[in-house]
Symmetry: C2
Amino acid sequence: MTRLWNDPADFADEMIDGFVAANGRYVRRVSGGVARATQTPEGQVAFVTGGGSGHYPAFGGLVGPGLANGAAMGNLFASPSTQQVLSVAKAVENGGGVFLSYGNYAGDVLNFDAAQEQLRAAGIPCQTVTVTDDVSSADKSEIHKRRGIAGDLTVFRIAGAAAERGANLTEVTRLARRANDRTRSFGVAFSGCSLPGADEPLFEVKPGHMAIGLGIHGEPGLGDADIPTADGLAEMLVNRLLEEVPDDVADVRGARVVPVLNGLGSLKYEEMFVVYRRIALLLEENGIVTVDPHVGEYCTSFDMAGTSLTLLWLDDELEDLWDTGVDTPAYRRGSVDTSPLVLASTDADEDDDVIGDADDASRGIAQTIAAGFDIWRATIDENVDELGRLDAIAGDGDHGIGMQRGIHAAQTAARDAAERGAGAATTLARAADAWSDRAGGTSGAIWGAILDTVAKTLGDVGVPEPAALAKGLENAKARVATFGAVPGDKTLVDSLDPFIDTFAELSERQSLADAWRAAAEAATDAAAATADMLPQMGRARAHHERALGTPDPGAHSLALLVTSLNDLFNRKA
Amino acid sequence: MTRLWNDPADFADEMIDGFVAANGRYVRRVSGGVARATQTPEGQVAFVTGGGSGHYPAFGGLVGPGLANGAAMGNLFASPSTQQVLSVAKAVENGGGVFLSYGNYAGDVLNFDAAQEQLRAAGIPCQTVTVTDDVSSADKSEIHKRRGIAGDLTVFRIAGAAAERGANLTEVTRLARRANDRTRSFGVAFSGCSLPGADEPLFEVKPGHMAIGLGIHGEPGLGDADIPTADGLAEMLVNRLLEEVPDDVADVRGARVVPVLNGLGSLKYEEMFVVYRRIALLLEENGIVTVDPHVGEYCTSFDMAGTSLTLLWLDDELEDLWDTGVDTPAYRRGSVDTSPLVLASTDADEDDDVIGDADDASRGIAQTIAAGFDIWRATIDENVDELGRLDAIAGDGDHGIGMQRGIHAAQTAARDAAERGAGAATTLARAADAWSDRAGGTSGAIWGAILDTVAKTLGDVGVPEPAALAKGLENAKARVATFGAVPGDKTLVDSLDPFIDTFAELSERQSLADAWRAAAEAATDAAAATADMLPQMGRARAHHERALGTPDPGAHSLALLVTSLNDLFNRKA
């Protein structure tokens, strides 16, 4: 369990501050995360990684010469926002283009892909390789759906080494993809972790048992078993990975691999060495040559007790790159030329903060929008624990805290805009940006997209018709659908669609207040059905069948939020 | 809790094997622990550290250029034996003498001091600096009695740097002492760890509470308190250490310190960064300049949840040394010249294994001695859990496992010697050596000394008189007294002395069997009184008033062992 924090909502930010304070000669703080403190030669590919916080040394601890140029650091177990990725990428881009690599999770894919699009739109070449090493998260026939765990280290190291040696973006991408194709991991867990401020762990494993194939956020695995001996575990890990030898490894006998025995937090070094002893013997018995073995903590999950074995199957090209020196806060190998410190911050420039024109009617609507965010903020504050609890049933328990961060940021931005005379569209658009930027993760991206889409139909002049709101909501539904989730996935979509459909139908012939109330009821009914299903849906997470197919209480929080506005619409009516 | 092991009795050995398998380019296995795999220049001081296992990266993880030359690796939380220290020292000695440094614990002092004497006797110059950084373990007026915790890192690093730069033994000693004089640590713990195979943790902290000043084996601290915020903890740690500024720091404002925020195992990086954020601010507010901050795991206690702050107050000389590169399995800084691998093992030579002459009478006694060890082995196997449980009341819970390792080794050695025709003295002496070598810790050293002393009076010819046995036991009593423990310390001495006194008195006028039985009863009575006192004695551990003043169930195990031989003496009578 996590024991030390100030305000849990500030945990990730304060963690980054402390990390930078302790590692000033390696990293500097930039908007959205950290960048190398040292200069890199002009024209070198900028390798940007990132992900949720809680996995140290992934991802900030892996920034430095020979590895990443920057890391976008999201909230606890939540993807960084699109703006975070973009901001870090712009801070480190140095004329050679941007290479993105991170573990394959829905929220990360959503936000990194959006950042990639924006970078390309800005004329900066960008390529991506997602890490998909966890053999237990999808079948071999759907290898691209697998999630990334400790294989991050091997893929990142090859990418960082290639960039360090001056490879261009195409080459870095090819080599990272090759490393990912030749990296496989398999792991087990003995206990879960509790996020700061949470009363309960994300999941529990029966004493004396272990969960097989568990992910690094408590995603369900393939089943459980009695804890074997250390030798027994070594055999299980090696045997499973020997079923997964990459197709282009001609002969296992004589093959050369880098083994990484990764600890998730509380399973400690001594135990891992006892397990590794047997792993080394088993690999040798199979005629496999081990190169530069790693036993330690490379991708953790707070204090979760568990371990995974990763094998990187080398070829000559990869093994040559593997020798490149690395010097980062948490990971150092070989010798690295001393690079001069970056003298001035080259952080991405701040948004210019000019509020556009609006008329009084639209400014009045903006005040109502701000009042709506006041209500939403209170609603989420009241329900944050319950949302976290619901999320922990099938997910990683951070839904409440993620919503809270987003809505606090949105409310502040909406109040600020409305008080400075912004119209309805600007006020809502600024709230949308703030939400997606501060919340990160999947829910931040979706809520940002919904509100931003609706804002576009409101305008900053005059009072919008109910039909404009209905049209905006329908556009939002269509935009969310492009993210890949469909009704029945037990996500926000399950209540978003009934809400919007009902509102569109009724707002043509009823008052705004009545239509809203009926739509909120439809959302609540849909959410209730979803919540009942959450326990059964847990297992589906392992399969990642759709980009946004991860069940969470998003439908429930949407229902809460829209219902909380019933009175506001009544007052206005 | 520890979850992975094979046979708990093999854990430490298998851990070392796995550690070496994973780090072959840094370390090689030598009898008693590990030595650098790379060559060191002739004439360089050989820095040997060591201690119990369970504190990784201390101690084996800190062996390599710029740090230690070798580490004697004891059993779990048990000091390495004298032979282990000696063997590692001989493997790495390279013409510049041996420098010993380790945490100040009774068992370690006993065994390292004995090794130092033997090295000097063999003509190898040897000096020692024990690490005494933990401010909560004794008052400032008795600073030499303090125990060593994460300050190991700063002292070792200065010693290693000095040796690396070619300082001679006197200089290395002076600089290490200076580093120790200027290193202070203070820590807290939130939960204990369980050793492999143990059913219960070594200690427990009430949920929501923390133990203040707790040692790295669960030694009691100064009291407990509610867990504060991360900022609150930072303030507690910094404030306590600012009360302990070394006398020769002229002015706190402008002073330069290396801060080390050390995690004990389950308190993770993210939490420590949040705490460090505030520590950095507090040090800055006090005008203190931080140099090369460390936040991570440098001296752990398995998966114990806790953290400590160490400050090394630099002067110019220490700061200059601090820049030296280090390249070890778990700790790397700066650049290090690549050193060639050691080509052939230069392990200390094996004992020549020739059994001396003996007559049939003495060989008969040797068979009885071996039979006695068979009984002792069964007795300890039966009572290993109970002894561990008793030890956990006031100690670190490893007494049972330590006795078991020692007695298994002794029994094997006795059987081997007896079967190869050894006489009584040789058989018992070999069992004594095996016990102290394999068990390590305080109990291993004491039992080895007792049996070795008794062996000297038995001879390898003829049947020894009862008086010879009594004389041997009295000599053993005198030898154990030189170690520093006195009756009433709640150690083995509490039952050893009544046993020997009673036997000496009665063996003059009663049968051997009767005298032994009465003496065993006296030992049992004394042990019972000792055991009752254990819970109250726990707190005394923090004070280290005597080298062997740490209460443990040694009196209890001695009583068990001598009583178990009653039947053997009856049969022989």
